[in-house]
């Protein structure tokens, strides 16, 4: 019987999954629960640009070596480029160069930042004499502001705080206005503060860094100030003047130059990704037992670049959503539009969050249906009509985004993440069911789809599930086994108990 081979296959799959998970947990001591203590992060910079055919030179600052993070395992992926590392003004910088290069190029820098193992050598390096670069009207304004601030300060530290507060106060009076210019950015304020401090005899610089987060595919760069006195550099918050470097930020480089400079190429794009270094969290236990890093890591998801890992973080949860879908359809008997539509909607819910996801989805589908009913009167042929509905869906999505921007609820912007083709097909199917089988059936299937999507989303977003399935992707074999078994589930669906209940009355 085919059932026997199915059960054999299921048994093999389950055995494989359990063996591999067991080995990882018991021998390699992988944590079953997500680790809250993080001591290492992966940092990655991806550069892409189009070379013009002549010499190309790319400079990129490397993260600062020193407290509180040590930069280890630095790797440079650069095909066809010569490369060198150097120190510039206390910054570390890598220079890639090539003589004749044409077409699209990619460069990668990867490193791991670890807590607690660092020396603060870079921090203690004495400053070089710097010129604040004020001339003309700026010089006069700077002198005036400095004189005013000095009157309120006792030493270098209080001077720093006063300068920051003076510039951040928002009172754009004559002198400060001349220095900051119209509508100054945060960065501009801090750069002016640094120059004022230099002019006032306290060496200062703007430090740029990224926030170390669980997972960010395009991390933004933040800024703060450092000033030199008492033979050391001291960090200050550039907005409030509070002393100390911002918590959880990695200092990258300082000065006025941008992170990346490229000559001889155009369309330069930079992406910085940050993520928890799971590998180090995982091998922590085994390292203590003096074991070498198992080869398992070289052939696991953990060896992938950070931004690819982020993709798999999402992809690996899809089978969980699919399992929910299978159970809801074949065991419970909920009717949905399309087979996988609810799972795709659930993926979109990741960005919109549940409540807003349901609101936005209902809004687009509801409005789309309304317009679809009007299209019905025009007696359009199928394919042009579908195309018309698709265009209407996109217009609706754009309108909802614009409207929510104007009204200030930014969740509404995420409507753009809904799969528009799926929405179009949902509207089309729903309107046909509506006309042929009545409103009740259409609403029932619509609500069924939303219910399954919501349940799939809730399952997929359990942090424990995400962690376990990412660290132990072998569990996909287990999911596969369960789905195979459900493929031979021949019992009643819950909805059928209701449907056939008249046949189940006790024998008269």
């Amino acid at each position: 019987m085919s059932n026997r081979s199915l059960y054999t296959l299921v048994a093999i799959l389950v055995a494989c999954a359990l063996l591999m998970v067991g080995y990882k947990v018991l021998v390699l001591q992988f944590p079953l629960l997500p680790d809250t203590e993080v001591d290492a992060w992966d940092i990655e910079v991806g550069l892409s640009f189009v070379a013009q055919g002549g010499p190309v030179k790319v400079t990129l600052y490397q993260p600062r070596q020193g407290s509180p993070y040590a930069i280890v395992d630095e790797r440079f992926v650069s095909q066809g480029f010569g490369f060198s590392s150097r120190r510039v003004d206390g910054n570390r910088q890598v220079v890639w160069s090539a003589r004749n290069l044409r077409g699209e190029q990619f460069l990668y820098y990867r490193a791991t930042a670890r807590t607690g193992e660092a020396t603060a050598a870079a921090m203690r390096a004495p400053p070089e004499r710097d010129d604040p670069g004020f001339t003309g009207a700026e010089l006069i304004a700077a002198s005036a502001v400095l004189a005013e601030v000095r009157a309120h300060s006792a030493d270098a530290e209080t001077l720093v705080v006063e300068v920051i507060r003076r510039l951040a106060s928002g009172a754009e009076d004559g002198n400060v206005g001349v220095l900051l210019g119209a509508v100054p950015s945060r960065l501009r304020r801090q750069q002016v503060a640094a120059r004022l401090l230099v002019a006032g005899g306290v060496p200062a610089r703007v430090v740029h860094g990224v926030r170390l987060e669980t997972l960010a595919r395009s991390a933004a760069i933040g800024h703060w100030l450092e000033a030199y006195y008492d033979d050391n550099w001291h960090a200050f918050d550039g907005q409030s003047g509070e002393p100390g470097a911002p918590e959880g930020w990695l200092a990258w480089w300082h000065g006025t130059a941008p992170l990346v400079r490229v000559t001889g190429a155009e369309r330069v794009q930079t992406q910085i990704s940050v993520g928890i270094n799971k590998e180090s969290a995982l091998v922590g236990a085994t390292r203590r037992e003096q074991m070498a890093t198992p080869a398992l890591f070289d052939y696991s998801l953990l060896s992938l670049p950070v931004d690819t890992q982020a993709v798999y973080h999402v992809l690996l949860t899809v089978p969980l959503g699919v399992l929910v879908l299978v159970v809801m359809r074949n065991v419970v008997g909920v009717k949905t539009f399309g087979t996988f539509m609810p799972v795709l909607i659930a993926l979109a819910f990741r960005e919109t969050r549940l409540l807003w996801g349901i609101v936005l989805f209902s809004l687009v589908v509801g409005l789309g249906l309304f317009i679809r009913f009007h299209l019905e009167r025009m007696k359009l042929l199928l394919v042009p009509r579908l195309a018309a509905v698709l265009i209407v869906v996109i217009i609706l999505m754009a309108l909802i985004s614009i409207l929510s921007q104007q009204l200030g609820f930014y969740r509404g912007l995420s409507v753009a993440l809904f799969p528009m083709v799926i929405m179009t097909m949902t509207i089309e199917r729903m309107s046909i069911v509506w006309e042929e089988r009545g409103r009740g059936e259409a609403l029932q299937q619509g609500l069924g789809s939303l219910l399954v999507a919501a349940l799939a989303y809730l399952t997929m977003s359990i942090p424990l599930m995400q962690h376990v399935i990412f660290v132990f992707p072998e569990l996909l074999l287990l999911l596969l086994a369960v789905v195979l078994l459900l493929g031979r589930y021949t019992g009643y669906r819950l909805s059928e108990l209701l449907r056939f209940r008249s046949l189940g009355k006790p024998a008269q």
Binding site: N330, G333, K379, L381, L382, V383, I432, E436, R437, E441, G487, R488, Y489, T490, G491, Y492, R493, L494, E496, L497, R499, F500, R501, S502, L503, G504, K505, P506
Partner: protein
């Protein structure tokens, strides 16, 4: 409580969708034979060549260009049915029962301009009513003149007899009676009445309308039970032969009774619904198991029918 209900349904031999799909359709219906029944033009031609009576096919409209020639195809007939060849659940079936002043009259009294009729044909061709939305063809065929036997218990439309045939053995039958709510259509989910039929005698049993057991037709008030289906022997024979015709093991055969031409096979369904169990107040699963046990001993059509009438008699 849920387990209790499931157990009672199981004891009553009620067939669920999962079991129908996994143990019957997937096992006895070969995928490559589905096109024979999914395309009603093919089914009709197959049946005609085997000498099974079907409603006469006036013509097939296959491409958009042919829609303009519809009037030559139809000639001066005022009675005809337009159907999608790959439709399901009765969707897209247009029944025309008359014409005046260049307009067609639908069976429910609505009049239909030529442009509206052409739009319906275009929609059919583009696949609006077909399984999976694939491009389709439109069939134009004889409009059945229903036998008056069900006149007292049907509202408009044509009542049809659905017989589930398993491995050539008729296992359960019902007659589907259109109501005002179903708009003259004979599909249960659209509001038609389903009345179980005793396989042995061909007499209607209980009737079910929207999950309720009823004694009378809600529109006409006629009694739904105890009606003798005429030419029942012929009906059973016709249904049983459809298995040999298609090679599909588990099918639902839809038959209509024409006033003059007798039983005509309308279509064969490879995924017959399960509502027939409610109409008969009986489960299918136990009957299917019975057939599986004796299948090798039933060589020809006559012995299969004889088995069905003896084993599945009501009461």
């Amino acid at each position: 409580m849920i387990w209790d209900l499931a157990r009672r349904l199981h004891a009553a031999g009620v067939l669920g969708i999962n079991r129908r799909n996994a143990d019957y359709m997937l096992v006895y219906n070969e995928r490559r034979r589905y096109p024979l029944v999914d395309d009603k033009v093919q089914t009709k031609r197959l049946a005609q060549s085997a000498g099974i009576a079907v409603p006469e096919l006036y013509g097939v409209i296959e491409i958009e260009r042919q829609v303009r020639d519809f009037s030559t195809l139809i000639g001066d007939r005022s009675d005809f049915v337009i159907k999608p060849a790959r439709g399901s659940g009765g969707n897209g079936v247009l029944i025309v029962s008359g014409r005046h002043d260049g307009e067609f009259a639908r069976i429910n009294g609505q009049s239909l301009s030529v442009a509206q009729l052409e739009h319906h044909l275009f929609n059919t061709l583009s696949g609006l009513y077909s399984l999976g939305g694939n491009p389709d063809v439109a069939m134009v065929e004889y409009r059945v003149d229903p036998d008056p036997v069900f006149a007292a218990i049907s509202y408009l439309g044509v009542p049809d007899v659905r017989i589930v045939v398993f491995l050539g053995v008729p296992v359960m039958a019902m007659v589907r009676l259109p109501t005002r709510a179903s708009g003259g259509k004979a599909n249960l989910h659209q509001g038609a009445i389903g009345a179980g039929i005793d396989l042995a005698s061909g007499k209607t049993l209980t009737a079910v309308w929207r999950n309720d057991i009823i004694a009378q037709h809600p529109d006409t008030g006629g009694p739904a039970g105890g009606v003798q289906v005429p030419r029942w022997d012929e009906l059973l024979l016709l249904a049983a032969r459809c298995t040999d015709l298609t090679g599909l093991g588990y099918i639902g055969v839809d038959v209509v009774l024409d006033r003059e031409r007798g039983p005509l096979m309308l279509e064969i369904n490879a995924r017959p619904g399960l509502n027939i169990q409610i109409a008969n107040a009986t489960g299918l699963a136990s009957r299917l198991r019975q057939v599986e046990r004796v299948r090798t001993s039933l060589a020809d059509v006559q012995s299969r029918i004889a088995f069905a009438r003896q084993a599945f008699a009501a009461g």
